[in-house]
């Protein structure tokens, strides 16, 4: 069965006819065409699909699209301002927080959620906030440094 889903996606209100059993990650990628959100596992294990729902991080692969009706969903595509990278995106680029890049959208969205609620996190707080996001490439140190770099910039 399909029903109308109304939500705000990256600051734009939209309505779509969406199957009741569709996952949020599939809605974002297949219906909205936003393929920045990745799917890295078969159910809640890796964090690659992390998006923001009303400023809080959420795993889009263990969320049904209809569960976020009426909410504000933000994906990696929504972070760019005027076509340029956000501070966090730049920091990941400059501090080598990304290698193959598959985990990066999820990492950045989880980090974005952290910095919105805690603009000046400690190293331990960064580690705790990213604990559910797995990366096969970087060894995590560069990722933590990237978030620290972005938070320093924000604090200034």
């Amino acid at each position: 069965m399909k029903t109308i889903l109304s939500l705000t996606l990256n600051r734009r209100v939209r309505d779509d006819l969406v199957p009741d059993n569709m996952l949020l990650v599939d809605y974002l990628r297949e219906v909205a065409g936003l393929t920045g959100t990745k799917k890295g596992c078969d159910g809640g294990e890796c964090g690659a699909c992390t998006v923001l729902v009303d400023n809080r991080p959420r795993l889009a692969c263990v969320t049904l699209a209809h569960q976020v009706a009426g909410r504000h969903v933000e994906t990696i595509e929504g972070l760019a301002n005027n076509g340029g990278m956000s501070r966090l995106q730049k920091a990941f680029h400059e501090k080598l927080g990304t290698q193959c890049g598959f985990c990066t959208p999820g990492m950045i969205m989880a980090a974005e959620a952290l910095l919105r609620s805690n603009p000046d996190p400690s190293r331990e707080e960064i580690k705790a906030a990213l604990a559910g996001n797995l990366c096969r490439c970087t060894g995590y140190v560069k990722i933590i440094e990237s978030v620290e770099d972005a938070s320093r910039e924000l604090a200034q």
């Binding site: 199957p19 159910g43 809640g44 959420r58 263990v62 049904l64 209809h66």
Partner: protein, 331 residues
């Protein structure tokens, strides 16, 4: 796109409406945060005709301190909100401690107290994709007729791995359940039965509404668990304990475990009540725990290892609580 069983989605705003939806459709299934149910649905481990989402039910996620010093936690409260709650941190820190070890931070934003308690049991032959199970052979928990863990058994030994249940059990918490017959209350421990394929004592159409935690003054309670990946995993063994201490006297002790049997288990510890603490007490408690714990090959961590770590964390926890208890005054 992900293959998913097909189902209808319903979002009631009241408990009466939710119970009504469950009663009308025998193939309906409840969902709260979805962090346990949806991965299972993606693996076709259930085929509900209707999903009843509880997160829009008015007041379902509330938390209140009661006049008698206890606390009422709505089943829809997220683990994140439980962790952030000041009453919980001050008066029932064991709940915060246990909730902080559930899954990862992003799961906890969506995961609820009710979903945590009612989560399905787990087994390495069950929590697998459809194609994995098809090639290995289905088992009697779902779709099949035999058990791969205890081959000659006609029951399922899948393991209960929820972290909150033992913490609530050592606080002597109660569960409030609503259903077609009205509201009933039972001990959290009585919510469960030791059967991997049918581990909840909930009747058709029933919903867990809240847990009621009595005041814990004079008790010192804590939770400890071992997991493969410290950032995100289910317990391979978990233990909660509450100690009431007066000087060198152990006035009362409660212990409950998870990650072993098909239900969380309250350990009978009456032999330790009103005894004098000595250096052998913690070991003796751990030995009592091991007698009640059952380990089967339901995970890829060996039963022997899980038995060892359960013993070790029980000793560690009970000793820690005993030390902490020295600074408490008991009325």
């Amino acid at each position: 796109m992900e293959l998913m069983p097909s189902f209808r989605f319903h979002r009631p705003t009241s408990l009466a409406e939710a119970v009504g939806a469950l009663t009308l459709d025998p193939h309906a299934r409840l969902m709260a945060g979805g962090t346990d149910l949806l991965p299972n649905l993606r693996r076709f481990l259930a085929r509900p005709g209707l999903l009843v989402d509880l997160t829009a039910v008015e007041g379902f996620g509330s938390i209140q301190k009661m006049a008698d010093g206890g606390m009422r936690i709505g089943a829809g409260l997220t683990l994140d909100a439980l962790i952030e709650n000041d009453y919980v941190a001050a008066d029932w820190p064991v709940l915060r401690e246990a909730a902080l070890t559930v899954a990862g931070p992003t799961h906890r934003v969506a995961a609820t107290v009710g979903g945590n308690l009612c989560q399905d049991t787990r087994c390495m032959f069950f929590n697998q994709s459809e194609w994995w199970r098809a090639s290995n052979g289905y088992c009697l928990k779902h779709d099949g007729d035999r058990c791969h863990v205890v081959v000659k058994s006609d029951r399922c030994f899948a393991t209960y791995r929820g972290d909150l249940a033992p913490a609530l059990m050592v606080l002597d918490a109660e569960a409030e359940v609503i259903g077609p017959e009205g509201v009933r209350r039972l001990k959290v421990a009585e919510l469960f039965c030791d059967s991997g394929a049918n581990h909840l004592n909930l009747h058709a159409g029933e919903i867990l509404v809240a847990v009621i935690v009595p005041a814990a003054e004079g008790w010192c309670a804590g939770y400890d668990k071992v997991r493969v990946r410290a950032a995100i995993d289910f317990p391979i063994a978990g233990v909660a304990a509450a100690i009431c201490r007066r000087g060198s006297r152990l006035c009362a002790l409660r212990v409950a475990i998870t990650g072993c049997n098909s239900a969380p288990v309250q350990i009978s510890t009456a032999e330790f009540d009103k005894t004098d603490w000595d250096t052998a007490t913690a070991e003796a408690v751990a030995t009592a725990v091991r007698k009640s714990a059952e380990f089967r090959r339901t995970s890829n961590v060996s039963a022997k290892y899980r038995r060892h770590v359960l013993h070790a964390i029980t000793v560690r926890l009970v000793e820690r609580l005993w030390m902490q208890g020295s600074s408490l005054t008991v009325r």
